[in-house]
């Protein structure tokens, strides 16, 4: 790992939005996944256009490909988002994505799937948040604005998927692009810091079986939109009619 000083010197020589420039250059070399929105390459101080309601980010998870003992997605999420604190009581630990092992007690059939924030179109967590910290971005990503989260945990009560966690202790080793801290509630952000640069969420990229697909549900040319249109998919707790961003196959 480079010494902090080297990186500072490099940064100070670059344009102030150098990071975006790097991302732009990186973007040029990455094959654009269908449906991902082009981010403006900033040479001057031009901020990006921001999230658009024309886009609806979604995920398709084929659980038939999901291996039971594998938790690559969980580890990748923890690395990317800086979820690295040691917790005294594991029940107090944050989990943005986790693997659930399901077993049918009557038939004995078992399978496993990743469970994360479903990024509902009608999120109960957004309805109940007293300050509006729990919010849905224009492109469908549900986030917690930790600047105004008061840590009341009502969203945790309201979430049908147990997607939200409270940070129970002071943190010091956060990743700079993923601020998170004591007393605030948090959940999967679809790796918004990556998505905004045209990258895939860490879990999707890390899946060795290719079970997870991410893209723009509103773009008829995207792989995810085409598959959702052709193949049978299910929403967990679909009777709640929340129109989820995450769809499953094989459950």
């Amino acid at each position: 790992m480079k010494e902090p000083q080297d990186l500072i010197d490099n940064k100070s020589r670059r344009n102030f939005v150098g990071t975006a420039a790097i991302a732009g250059a990186g973007l040029g070399t990455l094959a654009l996944a269908p449906g991902l929105q082009l981010i403006q390459v900033s040479e001057a101080n031009t901020p990006s256009a921001g999230a658009s309601s024309k886009v609806r980010w979604g995920m398709l998870i084929d659980t038939t490909k999901c291996a039971s003992g594998c938790d690559a997605c969980v580890k990748a999420c923890a690395t990317e988002n800086g979820i690295n604190e040691t917790v005294k009581d594991p029940r107090q630990g944050s989990q943005w994505i986790r693997k659930i092992d399901l077993k049918n007690p009557k038939t004995g059939q078992e399978h496993s799937l990743p469970m994360l924030c479903q990024h509902c179109e009608h999120p109960p967590c957004v309805d109940v948040c007293p300050t509006g910290a729990s919010m849905k971005r224009a492109d469908g990503i549900v986030l917690v604005d930790r600047h105004i989260c008061i840590g009341c945990r009502y969203c945790m009560l309201a979430c049908p998927y147990k997607a939200r966690s409270l940070v129970h202790q002071p943190l010091t080793a956060q990743n700079p692009e993923v601020p998170r801290g004591q007393g605030c509630v948090e959940a999967c952000t679809f790796c918004v810091q990556r998505v905004d640069k045209g990258m895939l969420p860490a879990c999707v990229e890390s899946c060795p079986e290719g079970a997870m697909l991410f893209g723009d549900l509103n773009d008829p040319n995207s792989e995810i939109a085409q598959r959702v249109a052709k193949e049978k998919t299910t929403q967990v707790r679909g009777d709640l009619n929340l129109n989820l961003g995450v769809r499953y196959q094989g459950i």
């Binding site: 940064k11 102030f16 981010i39 403006q40 031009t46 921001g50 600047h147 700079p176």
Partner: protein
Amino acid sequence: MKRTLVGLAAILLLAPVCASAGASKPTLKIENPGQCIAPVAEMRVNHMEMLKHTRDRTLRQGIRGEKASLNECINCHASKVTGSVLGKDGFCQECHSYAAVKLDCWDCHQPKAGKLNVGQAEAAGVKP
């Protein structure tokens, strides 16, 4: 009664003076002079407003690459010794300790410069 009131008033008026008698003015160490996004006077007065409005535009609206980026501030202003904007000679800490304005940011934001997300690192072609 009058003497009590005078005495009380004296204590109240002198207290701040006595309390700050021991505090020394902050000595700011600018690690990268001449690179800030606005003149010093403007930054002193407006940096909180800049950060506050940027945070809403970035988080709630998804607008990236704004002029006032907290991470860029940290990368430039972090102490070359500690690598952080807090602690001894910490850029943010110096003035805020003196002015006794609590810094809420660092409960969530990473005050150390140069730490990269996996995603950032990949994009920059460096190891995280």
